[in-house]
Amino acid sequence: MSAPHNLSPAEAYRHDLKGYLTGFVLAVVLTVIPFAMVAKGGMSFNTVIGTIVVLGLIQVVVHVRYFLHVDLSPERREDLYIILFSALLLFIMAAGTIWILANLQDRMMGGVDMGTMHMESGSAGSSMSGMQMNGTTMKMDGAAKN
């Protein structure tokens, strides 16, 4: 918690308290907007999702700044680096996972509603692995019927 050094204890306390309250108010606003949007409905899917993502990311920054007290000050530089480094790795892993699996999903399960299929593992095993080896787009329904 980074109150400027020249403050009396009472002033420093008020300064810190204000920090928490600011963070809380911002967090509430950033939470209420997307909740309201979804509850109200009527907006395009992309707008809603875009808003959720952007406000969510902003709220993460708010929490880090006002509750974890990590800011751009030199004393917190170390923690900031840890967070940024972790965020980078998290992004690589999570985005990579989604990219890869979505791509596979597209090429392999594309257009087929697998939801209606309740297969026993054994038989599905052979058809699925056959499909994986193939590496080209293949419609699942053909393979699953045998």
Binding site: M93, N103, S121, M128, M131, N134
Partner: protein
């Protein structure tokens, strides 16, 4: 308790008479089962023998006091390496059995397919998680605090906990030899084959729990060493003055923190599938087994750099020491290490190029993979430049280093070949790949660890290892490796798949025989290591390292007595240069009298490590065999132990009075003055008692 349920199944879970492997030989005396039961008997007899030896020599007390409850980073490091060597022995024997099987494998052989599958699964799992990881963790434990001028790690108790968890994982794998079967799904345990529908037995559960336990231990180790390296450095030991081994330890520790979570996640999800009928990776009801491959390699690729970076660190240390020269290109080595660490998170898909994603995805990861060759190449040039015009001595570690430089580059080249997706489609899942990764792991990791073991042994135990048996072992490893694995490149290109017990194409046979001959050399190499240890202990009085600096080495850890006192440094040194000890020796100030002494505080013993080892094993065992009571009780004990310790605080620290430190240090300095310094020609002779005679100064590179 539910009275309608029979008593024994509730207590013993699914453990029954059929699970006792050591009885199998009496029921089906085939060669396959003789080997199966033989392994179980080996574990049992080995265990009994161990207990007997400890009791006979009355070693239980000392072992408990000096090792099991100790938080001394050196002791913990030793225990890690002992574990690694035991597991190395088992892993190598398994490898040799597999090579023998395949040498005999044209149309049959003596092992059942199921047994062969267990062998490669345990071999791979053990070599990676219970040989390589403990080995490098042990070396890091021993060396890093010394190299940065610290008395211990930041969290000594946690260090003991990490060791305990690692041991419990290894114990489970050893138990799998005696009770029930291990997984047949390979070290990566891909579902759906490891799901309940294909392997309802205990096998994959052994894999899951031993890896989760050891994985948590390794994550904690990573945290411990990152904090240690950032917070415990001696005054003046800036980041850019840290020895290379410490740098690689830092990067490997960071990788441990961030790369183990995907493995933990994958194993937990697989456990949820198997125990609770979830559908993360099943065929039915919307599971997606491709995600498992994705998660496992998100861990797996950084893991290979966790394995190789510390070995690079060892090589960097020994190349400077045994060339009598400052390490060439320190800055570039640091940058290369860090780049490798980051890049290692961007390439995982190259392990499943053939899974079906489109060519653009494959291309992106293929290119990223090839990029890693650049920093690695930089390192090789730096090591060569360090040797150039140096005072090079071909000691055992240098034999490992020079064979590494040749063989690792070859292995790297085969890696670049594999990084090309279109080529990978041809050789994926063949023995070409097996040849490639052994080509990286044996000359890279294993040789590096053995070089480090030879190099730092005198520092830890106070006497040198016998070099004649060291050479025999090193040359046997090299010859054995080449003979075993180069033929696999050939049969791999011919299309022989990995993980197959036998084959029908006679064209493979000559190569398989050659590989089998190599296995003989590998066995000799392992045996030579054992003999070396025995001979070295027997002759320890001739090879005492009194001065603490038998190799005329350059970094801080050699400015201490051997074996080390518990407090490492009588006085924490102030560091004014990179390779500070070498600089001090050049100035004729190798052995200095401190200007004053102070009391030293060391952390007290802890039971936490033992508790983790025992109850971690029991917890895993209960989960594997469905003995729910055991799992619950063990977990509760571990949790309560943590809470109690948290509430009661650390056990009393040990204080060593300044006067005692002063007396011990002065006695050592006096003893050093009686030793005749030796030049490098006589490095390996009995005359070397660890004080180096000044020699020609470094040659400008």
């Amino acid at each position: 308790m539910n009275l309608t349920q029979p008593f024994w199944p509730a207590v013993l879970g699914r453990l029954d008479l059929d699970s006792l492997d050591f009885l199998k030989v009496f029921f089906h005396p085939t060669l396959n089962d003789v080997i199966l039961s033989g392994a179980a008997w080996a574990v049992l007899v080995g265990g009994v023998l161990g207990v007997a030896v400890l009791s006979y020599f009355k070693l239980w007390g000392p072992m408990w006091r000096n090792y099991l409850v100790s938080v001394d980073h050196k002791r913990i490091g030793i225990m890690y390496i002992v574990l690694a060597l035991i597991m190395l022995a088992r892993g190598v024997v398994e490898g040799v059995v597999m090579r023998t099987q395949q040498a005999d494998g044209l149309g049959g052989g003596f092992l059942s397919a199921n047994h062969y599958a267990q062998l490669f699964s345990t071999h791979g799992t053990i070599m990676i998680f219970f040989m390589a990881m403990p080995f490098l963790t042990g070396l890091i434990n021993i060396v890093v605090p010394l190299q940065i001028g610290a008395r211990d790690v930041s969290f000594p108790m946690l260090n003991s906990v990490s060791l305990g968890l690692t041991v419990s994982g290894a114990a489970l794998i050893m138990i799998s030899l005696v009770l029930g079967e291990f997984s047949t799904g390979g070290w990566t345990a891909y579902p759906p084959y490891t799901e309940m529908s294909f392997q309802p037995g205990v096998g994959p559960d052994y894999w899951i729990w031993s890896l989760i336990l050891a994985g948590v231990g390794s994550t904690l180790t990573g945290i411990n060493f990152v904090v240690t390296i950032f917070k415990e450095r001696a005054p003046g030991m800036t980041l850019m003055r840290m020895p290379m081994f410490t740098w690689t330890a830092l990067c490997a520790s960071i990788l441990l923190i961030f790369a183990l979570p995907p493995l933990t996640v994958a194993a937990l999800m697989l456990a949820a599938d198997r125990y609770l009928d979830f559908h993360f990776f099943t065929n039915a009801l919307g599971g997606n087994m491709m995600n498992f491959a994705n998660l496992v390699w998100l861990f797996g690729h950084p893991e290979v750099y966790i394995l190789i970076l510390p070995a690079f660190g060892v090589y960097s240390e020994i190349v400077a020491t045994y060339s009598g020269k400052r390490l060439y290109g320190y800055g570039s080595l640091v940058v290369a290490t860090m780049s490798i660490a980051i890049l290692s998170f961007t390439v995982w898909l190259h392990h499943f190029f053939t899974m079906g994603q489109d060519a653009n995805v494959n291309a992106a990861f293929g290119i990223a993979t090839m990029l890693i060759g650049i920093p690695t190449g930089v390192k090789v040039y730096d090591w060569m430049a360090t040797m150039y015009r140096g005072r090079v001595r071909m000691t055992v570690p240098m034999i490992y280093l020079s064979s590494f430089m040749v063989l690792f580059v070859l292995g790297g080249l085969s890696g670049i070949i594999l990084a090309n997706p279109s080529i990978d489609f041809q050789v994926h899942n063949t023995l070409f790949l097996v040849a490639h990764f052994h080509n990286m792991l044996i000359p890279g990791l294993l040789f590096g660890m053995l070089a480090g073991y030879t190099y730092w042994f005198p520092k830890v135990f106070g006497f040198r290892l016998n070099d004649r048996w060291g050479y025999i072992s090193a040359y046997s490893w090299i010859v054995g490796f080449v003979l075993v694995f180069f033929p696999l490149y050939v049969v791999g290109l011919m299309g022989m798949t990995r993980r197959t017990v036998s084959y029908v194409d006679p064209a493979y046979q000559p190569w398989m025989l050659m590989s089998g001959v190599g296995a003989i050399f590998v066995t000799v190499a392992l045996a030579a290591l054992v003999v070396q240890l025995y001979v070295s202990i027997r002759e320890r009085n001739y090879t005492r390292d009194i001065g603490g600096d038998p190799w005329d080495a350059r970094t801080l850890e050699w400015a201490t007595p051997s074996p080390l006192p518990a407090y490492n440094f009588a006085v924490i040194p102030h560091v004014h240069a990179r390779e500070a000890f070498a600089v001090a020796k050049e100035a004729g100030r190798g052995y200095q009298e401190p200007t004053g002494y102070a009391d030293i505080h060391l952390p007290g013993d802890t039971y936490m490590g033992v508790i983790m080892a025992v109850f971690g094993t029991a917890f895993g065992f209960g989960m594997i065999w469905y003995m729910w009571w055991l799992a619950v009780v063990s977990f509760a004990v571990m949790a309560v132990a943590f809470i109690v310790r948290a509430l009661r605080g650390d056990r009393a620290a040990i204080t060593i009075p300044a006067a005692q430190v002063e007396a011990e240090h002065k006695a050592w300095l006096a003893q050093v003055r009686t030793v005749t310094p030796v030049t490098r020609e006589r490095e390996l002779e009995h005359a070397n008692h660890g004080v180096a005679a000044p020699e020609t100064k470094e040659v400008a590179a």
